[in-house]
């Protein structure tokens, strides 16, 4: 029996432990359904009040006393602790700072320092480009050798020479949402004497992740997607405690010094992952992220994962039942455990179709060559919204709306 709207509404009543969290987020624009949590997660409703407080009481009034009297300098650790459960890390092993790209660079260089004289970075050939760029930059400067991985199945061959320092893997493919098996990859990497560095940008805050449970070495990820830290929010980094004090960080900064305000002439790395902090923290951005952190402290990761699975499975079923025969097909794995934050469809005219959907109040995105991406946030999206979105998609497909010239311009 095909799913009905009533079925979808019934499913929205299902996940008791998350109830009430949806109201902690601000509504978006009227008549707009957001399935773009892989780009910018929803805004916690109290983010503006928190920001107003830091602007007035922090910037305008406290000024320099803010460094002492407010907790600005503690936020990288506090925010890290708040998101740690949802990525399966211990609270003390995560820090929020800088951008994903910079953290990727820092941890690649750190892994190379730990693993010297090994100097091979294995990186996926077809990964989100920023992961490659960080590695390419290091190699171009003579600091590493690159080995490209065409497919996760080729990992044993890439590791076989026994010379790999670090394997940089994106947990989830940014186009089709294929999710790698972290435990299996980590076991292979470890057996070859290499370290794993995971980019969790397209899974953190969407599905349950077990960094520690899968014995991951290093990880980074985006703060502004599913984690809802705000546009351009600082990113996170994770370092397994067995490594954190194994070498100096590549980028030595005063916030990563063992005694920042002693103003010691010589660098001494801070204990643990604090050494990966570099410059003065972004106080205003942290205030926004703190609004999301307050929500994450109340989220049961397993309930989040269950809700995410329910939304994704419902979406796939609705697409199967309502959009067959229009040349659109599922690009993501059907099995939730193999799927990341979003559900991707394959369609020859994905980009203009995405624009048509946005124009009709369904915010989705496209990625070349043919991926149409739906990324419902498990804390705010509803099954009922999915019903409406798929109905609009069906209508647009029936009308071949993607042919409309106004949907042909380039878009991010």
């Amino acid at each position: 029996m095909p799913l009905t709207l009533a079925d979808c509404i019934a499913r929205d009543g299902g996940n008791a432990s998350l109830r009430g969290l949806r109201e902690r987020f601000a509504p978006g624009a009227p008549d707009t359904l957001y399935f773009d949590a892989n780009s910018i997660g929803p805004m916690p409703a109290d983010a503006p009040a928190r920001m107003q407080a830091v602007l007035q009481q922090g910037w305008a009034e406290a000024r320099r006393r803010g460094w002492n009297e407010l907790d600005w300098l503690e936020q990288p650790a506090k925010l890290g602790a708040a998101i740690a459960p949802v990525i399966g890390a211990q609270a003390e092993d995560v820090r929020v700072a800088d951008s994903t790209s910079i953290n990727q660079y820092k941890l690649l260089r750190f892994a190379l320092a730990l693993q010297a004289p090994r100097r091979v970075i294995v990186v996926q050939r077809d990964v989100f480009p920023s992961n490659r760029y960080a590695a390419e930059g290091i190699a171009q400067a003579g600091g590493a050798e690159l080995r490209f991985l065409d497919d996760i199945a080729a990992l044993p061959a890439a590791l076989a020479p026994g010379d790999v320092a670090v394997v940089a893997l994106s947990h989830v493919d940014y186009r089709d949402s294929t999710r790698l098996d972290m435990a299996s990859a980590n076991a292979q990497v470890r057996a070859a004497g290499a370290l794993s560095l995971w980019d969790l940008s397209h899974s953190a805050g969407a599905v349950a992740i077990a960094l520690r449970g899968t014995d991951s070495d290093l990880a980074v990820g985006c703060g502004y997607k599913y984690l809802c830290g705000g546009p351009g929010a600082p990113a996170f980094l994770y370092v397994h405690p067995r490594h954190a004090e194994g070498a100096w960080p590549a980028v030595c900064g005063w916030m990563g010094h063992a005694d920042t305000f002693a103003f010691e002439p010589d660098y001494r790395p801070a204990p643990g992952p604090d050494r990966f902090l570099v410059g003065t923290p972004p106080v205003l951005a942290q205030a926004a992220f703190a609004a999301a952190a307050a929500v994450w402290r109340e989220v049961d990761p397993q309930a989040l994962d269950a809700q995410h699975r329910s939304l994704g499975d419902t979406l796939i079923q609705l697409l199967d039942e309502q959009c067959a025969g229009f040349g659109i097909e599922l690009a993501s794995p059907r099995e939730h455990a193999r799927r990341g934050g979003h559900v991707a469809l394959r369609f020859a005219h994905a980009a203009p179709l995405a624009q048509a959907l946005v124009h009709h109040g369904v915010v989705v995105s496209a990625r070349k060559p043919e991926a149409l991406r739906f990324a419902p946030h498990p804390l705010t999206a509803t099954h009922e919204q999915l019903w409406t979105a798929v109905a609009r998609l069906r209508d647009l497909l029936q009308r071949e709306a993607w042919r409309d010239p106004r949907y042909q311009q380039a878009s991010v």
Copy 2:
């Protein structure tokens, strides 16, 4: 004749071209005088409204469409262009991004790449520690050799071996505010085939700087001090156009790619200084900085410099006339051209005295071992405020308030 309060009030009427700009900033806490622009500059009055707009219209409503429809990705260049005149740079040569420490690392590594096989970094021994830490980290990883400079007078000797790649200089000493002669240092550096890298954190936004006029090669600086970008604001970097395309950046990111949204597998550096951008820009922090940028677009750098000189000279005269005989003496150069953003006093009990002043509504700071720092912002501080501050200082000195146990605790 000693300066009177009436003289100070009269001096506040003096700088016509800056008139009206003071009202563009929010008042601080009641009965509080801020001389801490070397820590956090004042808040533009419209920063909260700009932030509210980006939160509501950007984050809550536009979400992913913000990347396309708003100017989030253009801000690193727009903010750079706005502050370029005050540092004497061409608008297109400055970018606002990341932290000062990270930019220092990026440009040190860039200079080394340009200058290979030269690998010596000359860095001041007694500089703000973060400048040293960045260089030390590079050296520790085998990427450079360090040569410490005890005094600017020793620069010729440091350059003499002819092997120096880059000379990293802080334009202004963070303790006593001594300002280096950029033109003279640059000429020496250039004659030795080396590059200059200036840290302008304690001068940018306070005094007129001529990066291009003095033929500087590279520069970085803080966004949240005199530039008023907000606590932990992104920093700036400057690269002379003759160098900008001379090498890959050390940290290769997607925002520094020639065609970010083409998602090309291989890194290709963007033209000019855009290549020094790395990850997704901090959209919320940029919105705060944009409030300051709107003010900077209206500031005549020479008028700013004149006002800064007038405030500093007035402060020094008041201190001479009112605080002699208490064991407090001027640590900064008397000549404005040799002085940076703040005026420093030498006092054996600088730290508790600074706390006593803060307690009495005069926000200043101390740095070990004996520096008491007054950093009035030229766009908001008044000569009248200086009169009041010095009167309070005199009173505290007379009462030996620095002996009070409550002013002995450590402070940033």
